[in-house]
């Protein structure tokens, strides 16, 4: 099974489980989803529940909010985070705000899924990693499934959340293969996970960069450095406890983030660790992020712009000295 299929299974389960759930977005139906996530679901559930929209990001995201207010449980797909700019007013000013602004009267049980990340030579307008940006907004829950299990398990609890949840699927993960247990539905969506235990340094990653972190940990093991790899999973709220507990043991931390360095989620994680664990740290928290350039098309340039396993390992070595 692939990550893509795990996501599809999660959508199918939700549609079967609650008739208020429907999927809406550009080309989710007849085309099968721009990354084929929803392939076949139109035939299974029909055009009312697998709903192709015109190219009107603001209107269909806003319609998702309205439908949630009206008692439905919409899953809105925005093809990629790059196009979510066009719906940002609806996400920030409405979805994230209505509950508070109405004094607790109107909650917005909406799930928005979108693809994020680079690595497929799609160049400057299709390669953003802006999930970190969204973590700035109170009222949103932000999830980043990095494993098949999370792709399969995060959607249902996200739908159970009475408030808006954004799920960021890193495009390079869709073809990732793996096994899933038979009874997979529902995972905890509030905590980080230790993907590899270690003692000398904590490498904190999420989404598409977990693989680079794990690869770096392998390399480092060869160098006699035992790296613990944390997958944040929930980007807002952050699971501070898990992060602090690990850093409390290892006394060193590197944050890996596919976002541009300045103002990225990695900055927040770094600042929090320093605030909380300053006197426990043996070295400053390091960050490995994307180069601050609009993503170039050429493969060698794109590779150079993205955080690679070797960059993570190198950052750990610098800390270790």
């Amino acid at each position: 099974m692939t990550y893509r299929e795990a996501m599809r299974a999660a959508i199918r389960e939700a549609l079967n489980r609650d008739e208020r759930v429907f999927l809406m977005g550009e080309d989710v139906g007849r085309y099968g989803g721009c990354y084929a996530v929803s392939l076949g679901l139109l035939e299974e559930f029909g055009p009312e529940r697998i709903r192709d929209t015109p190219m009107s990001e603001s209107a269909f995201v806003g319609a998702g909010i309205g439908a949630a207010l009206g008692g439905m449980r919409p899953i809105v797909e925005i093809m990629t985070v790059n196009f979510s700019f066009l719906a940002l007013d609806q996400i920030v000013n409405n979805a994230a705000t209505l509950l508070y602004m109405s004094g607790g009267q109107f909650s917005v049980p909406l799930v928005i899924r979108m693809t994020t990340g680079a690595g497929r030579q799609l160049a400057a307008q299709h390669s953003h990693s802006l999930e970190g940006w969204y973590t700035h907004i109170p009222g949103l829950r932000i999830l980043a499934p990095a494993t098949l299990e999370d792709a399969r398990g995060m959607l249902w609890p996200a739908l159970c959340d009475p408030d808006p949840v954004l799920i960021f699927e890193n495009g390079i993960l869709y073809n990732m293969e793996g096994e899933l247990s038979d009874n997979p539905s529902g995972v905890d969506i509030t905590s980080a996970a230790i993907r590899r235990a270690g003692e000398d340094v904590t490498v904190i990653a999420y989404g598409g960069s977990v693989r680079a972190a794990l690869a770096a940990a392998d390399t480092l093991a060869g160098d006699g450095i035992s790296a613990e790899v944390i997958d944040l999973r929930s980007l807002r709220p952050l699971d501070d406890e898990a992060i602090f507990a690990s850093v409390g043991r290892t006394h060193r931390a590197v944050v890996v983030d596919e976002g541009w360095r300045s103002g990225s989620l990695s900055a927040e994680v770094s600042a929090r660790i320093t605030e909380h664990a300053f006197y426990d740290l043996d070295a400053p928290v390091a960050r490995v992020c994307s180069a601050e350039v609009p993503m170039p098309y050429a493969k060698h340039l794109e590779d150079a712009a993205l955080p690679q396993a070797a960059d993570v390992a190198a950052a750990v070595h610098v800390l270790g000295s």
């Binding site: 055009p47 603001s58 209107a59 269909f60 309205g66 009206g70 609806q90 602004m101 004094g103 009475p162």
Partner: protein, 377 residues
């Protein structure tokens, strides 16, 4: 019942062509409004009473709104109300005519200029005034203020202060009704300025494409802040614009509450009966500045005066009097009732409490799932 199947129910062309006779340009206030081809059904559904009862009720509602807002001006001067305050003085016929035409199960999505809609909708004047004064007893615990009145009991979904931002919400509310086979109307109110926003375009298309039960109501008061309609739109006939989405659209004299009432009833029942979205352009005017900050430099005093001459409140008052349906005594009693209600609301607001600062972080997220949230076992 796919959207496509539903779509075939829409007539090929708008069922009524947009009115071109009405001229609501700044220089010539509308005098011969276009009315939809319906006979006026006066009594509110279910209520007994005569047509004149209904008209007196409309007058009463307009008076409540007018005097409430006049009182707001004083309270603003006294610093009891702060922030942005947008008044609909002059536009009461739109608020009353439209909202009175809706049923309780319908929804209203409005703008930051929404006091009138809120009051007409039946939200208590007390809680509206308390909201304006930032009190816990307000509709939104004092967190919203004038621009953000919300009320779940009357399905009043704001109070939206991003121009155009309410339109997609309304589309979604209507989609929920369609998907759940509920015969409800979502009335979506916005100004002429909003028509230039991309969200107008996207929402009109989506509602029409999916044949959704939205009643789009454009309160065309000829200005968006200081920008006259003709400086904002290449096509100033907004009903014509609406009909380019294959949405049936009319222009209505927004200074005549009976005209608005009739048009809104007709349109709302068409929407309710599965006729898809409809669009009403209510041609109106605001007598006061855009907000309390606005020096109002962009309009001619004479223009304002011409529109004042068509004030919907004296117009209906006189019509009722002339028809012998409103005696001087009754009129005075109405004014007194309104004054008393306002004083009561102000007293209520003044006596209101401030939310505990410790509650600042409440409702950023829900405290528990709303009734019926799907939940893991």
């Amino acid at each position: 019942m796919t959207p496509r199947a539903r779509k075939t129910a829409v007539p090929d062309r708008p069922i009524a062509q947009p009115g071109r006779a009405a001229d609501a340009s700044p220089d010539a206030p509308a005098t011969s409004p276009v009315r939809p081809p319906v006979t006026r059904k006066a009594p509110k559904d279910g209520s007994a009473g005569t047509a004149k009862d209904h008209e007196r009720h409309l007058l009463h509602q307009m008076l409540r709104i007018r005097h409430f807002e006049e009182r707001c001006v004083e309270l603003y001067s006294a610093s009891a109300i702060r922030g942005f305050l947008h008044l609909g003085i002059g536009e009461e016929a739109c608020a009353v005519g439209l909202v009175e035409a809706l049923s309780p199960e319908d929804a209203v999505v409005s703008t930051y200029r929404e006091h009138g809609h809120a009051l007409a909708r039946g939200i208590s004047m007390r809680s509206v005034m308390a909201e304006l004064e930032g009190k816990l007893e307000g509709t939104c615990r004092g967190r919203g203020g004038s621009m953000h009145i919300f009320d779940a009991a009357t399905r009043f979904f704001g109070g939206n202060a991003i121009v155009g931002g309410g339109l997609p919400l309304a589309v979604g509310l209507a989609l929920a009704d369609q998907l759940q086979d509920r015969r409800r109307v979502t009335a979506c109110i916005f100004g002429d300025g909003a028509v230039a926003e991309g969200e107008f375009h996207e929402s009109m298309n989506l509602a029409a494409l999916w044949h959704l039960p939205v009643l789009f109501c454009c309160e065309n008061n000829l200005y968006a802040m200081g920008t006259a309609l003709a400086r904002a739109q290449s096509e100033t006939d907004l009903s014509l614009k609406a009909s380019s989405y294959r949405v049936p659209a009319w222009a209505v004299d927004g200074m005549d509450v009976l005209a608005v009432d009739a048009a809104a009833r007709h349109a709302a029942s068409a929407v309710r009966d599965g006729g898809g979205p409809h669009f009403l352009e209510l041609r109106t005017y605001r007598y006061r500045a855009h907000s309390m900050y606005d020096p109002d430099l962009y309009r001619d005093k004479a223009e304002i005066e011409r529109w004042r001459a068509r004030d919907p409140i004296p117009a209906l008052t006189e019509a009722l009097s002339a028809a012998g349906a409103l005696g001087e005594e009754e009129r005075e009693r109405m004014e007194e009732e309104v004054a008393a209600e306002i004083e009561d609301a102000v007293a209520f607001a003044e006596a209101g409490t401030l939310e505990d600062v410790a509650e600042l972080g409440r409702f950023v997220t829900s405290e528990r799932g709303p009734e019926g949230t799907p939940c893991l076992p």
